[in-house]
Symmetry: C2
Subunit: 191 residues, 2 copies
DNA sequence: GTCTATATTAAGATAGAC
DNA sequence: GTCTATCTTAATATAGAC
């Protein structure tokens, strides 16, 4: 793919993700998507094979990036707080790169058909690795003895929904956001 | 309405909310809804006037409850931490009462047609009142000087998504959840 | 209160011309 | 790579019988 131009296929994915964020997968028609790109719906099928394939591509692309990311973090020889901060940084980076894709990941995964099981598998493994980081922190004494499930839920929910908020706050620099979120999410639970 | 039986209309709202949570408003058809209730789609129209009306009813009912609730909390003569804990308790209570409606509120509000402006108005007022509680706490010194916008986002996101989590965790008692969440959300920001 | 039958509109997708 | 034309299916909703 050329550097500063997206292939037509990539353009379709990008436009679709934006529309999916606004109205959800089911409410976006192939005619909506085509109109947004200035072509007719039938022309889309020269580049993609189905609406379903567009959704799969968008969601599994991001899910795979999160999976690789958490594997790298888990493999680090660092303490729990460094790992948690790396998880926060990864969410901010991937969300800033692709906020519309993150929205589809969060809200439209249940409309995956053939790839649903694969997606659920990736998500469950991600959650387990994240929970394990928390559990290690509690065992080592780095984290206070708060309720694990509530803490896992609270942090992951905040991170997963950053797409609702990041694009509007262009004035906040990425490093400041990583610092600010780390303080708010972690300061209360550090020993 | 009789005490232990829902009117047919209420039954429709309740069933619809559950289906909306699973697949989203747009992906649920009147035939799906009717089948779930053991009748034909046409029969639904003896009780309700449109699919759109079902969505309005579900969302605005909850949004109104949140609005009354925050008005009561804002009117209390208590300190900031007590007010924040009351907000947390309200979210937990309303979500536990109606997790499916909360899902529709969060995910399907953009499909409101005639009532969209009214909904957005209620939501904006709620957010403003919540932000004002945080700002008062910072002025009075009860809260640390953390980034206001990040804190507002983080707490509200966690509370708004409780529906994803509360129904699965029946073993957690409500009071424990209020305590646990208050610790995790607030302990890091108290002075 | 529910049914069958149906009107109307719009969806995803394909064929074949240019 | 895009178009027009079209197939097939399914959506919301109404009319009128029981």
């Amino acid at each position: 793919m050329k550097l500063s131009t997206l292939s037509r296929k990539q353009e379709i994915y990008k436009t679709a993700a934006r529309l999916f964020k606004e109205k959800g997968y089911s409410a976006v028609t192939m005619r909506d998507l085509a109109a947004e790109m200035g072509i007719k719906a039938a022309s889309l099928y020269n580049h993609i094979s189905s609406k379903q394939q567009i959704l799969s591509e968008i969601i599994l692309d991001i899910a795979t990036q999160f999976t690789s990311g958490i594997d790298a973090i888990t493999g680090q020889e660092t303490n729990t707080l460094a790992k948690l901060k790396a998880v926060i940084a990864q969410h901010i980076t991937l969300t800033a790169d692709n906020p519309y894709g993150m929205a589809a990941l969060n809200n439209d995964w249940m409309h995956l058909e053939g790839k649903l099981d694969h997606y659920l598998d990736l998500r469950n493994r991600y959650e387990k690795k994240f929970r394990d980081i928390i559990l290690e922190g509690k065992e080592s004494g780095e984290l206070k003895d708060v309720n694990t499930e509530i803490l896992v839920y609270s942090i992951l929910t905040t991170l997963r929904n950053l797409y609702l908020w990041i694009p509007k706050k262009g004035e906040l620099k990425k490093d400041e956001l990583i610092e600010g979120l780390s303080i708010i999410l972690l300061q209360g639970v550090e020993s």
